[in-house]
């Protein structure tokens, strides 16, 4: 019997007013697999991520994370989720260390010893540990948001534009972390506009257009220009 996918989305519909943003999305992501979710602006990528992240209720359909329903059993789903969305989830008037400590306590994680220093060093922010986040650049905030992932052991990662705003060094670091996460049996769903590094660590590409997954294909063997061609074909077809 095949193992239950870590992320399973079946017939997902989400309506905002008169707008049907998601119109029957189906998607499975197995353990050790990374899927890059591509699509034009307003295609519903963030909406899909938010539903799987238990932050938004679907109008119809189901989403499950590690077998836990994202609506009826949201608490269990959250226990295995790691989410980095558009907002960095950081408080401007706290320092980087205080932000991490708050987040760790909120999630019942230990903050003693060198835990926080190590997590900050991991994203090259240890020199700025005691600086207020208000003084940080967008890339530094992003790195701080990613440092949170080092404090927990999620089985499922949901990332919205994970490489946006990162410098080359941070990109390389993140790439390594995501590869290690996959190798450890985690499932990864990334929403992106970019055809860059995200694609390098993806096992599959899913193109979301017109509220549906119009293409779900293995990435292996696809060059950047192939992806661009597919993207154009499968998004223009809908529009």
């Amino acid at each position: 019997m095949a193992a239950v996918p870590l992320i399973r989305v079946v017939g997902l519909v989400r309506v905002f007013g008169a707008q049907r943003v998601l119109d029957g999305v189906d998607l499975d992501i197995a353990a050790g697999e990374a899927v890059a979710l591509l699509g034009p602006n307003g295609a519903g990528k963030t909406t899909l991520l938010k539903i799987v992240a238990t932050l938004l209720r679907p109008t119809r359909g189901t989403a499950t994370v590690a077998g836990h329903d994202c609506v009826r059993d949201a608490e269990s789903a959250r226990a295995v989720l790691g989410v980095v969305g558009h907002g960095a989830h950081v408080y401007e008037d706290l320092t980087a260390r205080e932000n991490l400590a708050f987040w760790a306590r909120l999630n019942g994680r230990p903050v003693g010893g060198d835990t926080l220093t190590d997590a900050l060093a991991d994203v090259d922010l240890d020199r700025h540990a005691d600086a207020r986040v208000r003084t940080f650049s967008a890339g530094m905030r992003r790195r701080l948001a990613l440092a949170r992932l080092g404090l927990t052991n999620p089985r499922v990662l949901l990332l919205d534009e994970p490489f946006a705003g990162l410098d080359q060094r941070a990109r390389k670091w993140l790439e390594g972390r995501l590869e290690a996460f996959k190798a450890g049996g985690g499932a990864l769903l990334m929403a992106t506009h970019s055809f860059g590094r995200e694609l390098g660590i993806s096992d599959r590409l899913a193109i979301l257009a017109g509220g549906r997954v119009t293409l779900d294909t293995p990435r292996a063997g696809l060059e950047s220009q192939d992806v661009q061609r597919l993207y154009a074909a499968y998004t223009e077809e809908v529009s």
Binding site: R78, G85, H89, Y91, E98
Partner: protein, 210 residues
């Protein structure tokens, strides 16, 4: 910690309280008899208005950088978040109220004397009630566009029992009546506090989830 560092709300409330007292002082003049009859109402009007201003900002910091989502994603009992917000709101309100009471004594030449312990009890009970329901409604309206309007419109009618109990008890205590004489108002305040706290703890999870 954020408020202790930025002092944004505290500074605003202190200036607001001072401005309110100056307005009261100019409006009422030195007529002692008129002052004695309106003073309890004025005192609580000041407390309520500064409380509404402060509580209305309680969850605004969570809107920055989508911190609201981080709270939502945290596993475990969300009522702990309610209690944390309640305690920080209580601390802020207590600070502003203590200062406002001191300024009232100076501005209106009020003799508190032996009424002070009883008054402190009434203010404490009233503040818990205002903060308990205010924290809940602040969370409820934090994600709404017209929250500045909606928050006081929802909050003030629900606070009627607290206002009634505190103003009446304060009036009696300022007239140097014993605490036993206002026992029924104190019971009303305790009951209101218990109900507001229970509702806050039980419903905060649902409100946070939206």
């Amino acid at each position: 910690m954020i408020e202790r560092r930025s002092k944004e709300t505290l500074n605003a409330l202190l200036f607001f309280s001072l401005a309110l007292l100056l307005v009261f002082q100019f409006a009422l003049g030195p007529d002692r008899e008129r002052l004695a009859s309106v003073l309890p109402g004025l005192l609580w009007l000041g407390f309520i208005l500064s409380g509404v201003l402060g509580l209305g900002r309680a969850f605004l910091v969570e809107r920055e950088n989508d911190c609201w989502e981080a709270l939502l994603l945290a596993p475990g009992d969300k009522s702990a978040i309610y209690l944390g917000k309640l305690v920080s709101s209580l601390a802020l309100m207590a600070l502003v109220e203590a200062l406002m009471l001191g300024l009232f004594v100076v501005f209106f030449n009020v003799e508190l004397g032996p009424a002070l312990p009883g008054l402190a009890l009434v203010i404490g009970l009233g503040t818990v009630g205002i903060a308990a329901v205010g924290t809940l409604f602040a969370a409820m309206t934090a994600q709404v566009r017209a929250r500045e309007l909606l928050f006081p419109v929802l909050l003030l009618p629900v606070l009627v029992p607290v206002l009634l109990g505190t103003v009446k008890a304060t009036e009696a205590l300022l007239l140097q009546e014993p605490l036993a004489a206002v026992a029924h108002w104190l019971k009303l305040l305790v009951a209101a506090d218990v109900v507001y706290l229970a509702v806050g703890l039980l419903t905060f999870d649902v409100i946070l989830e939206g």
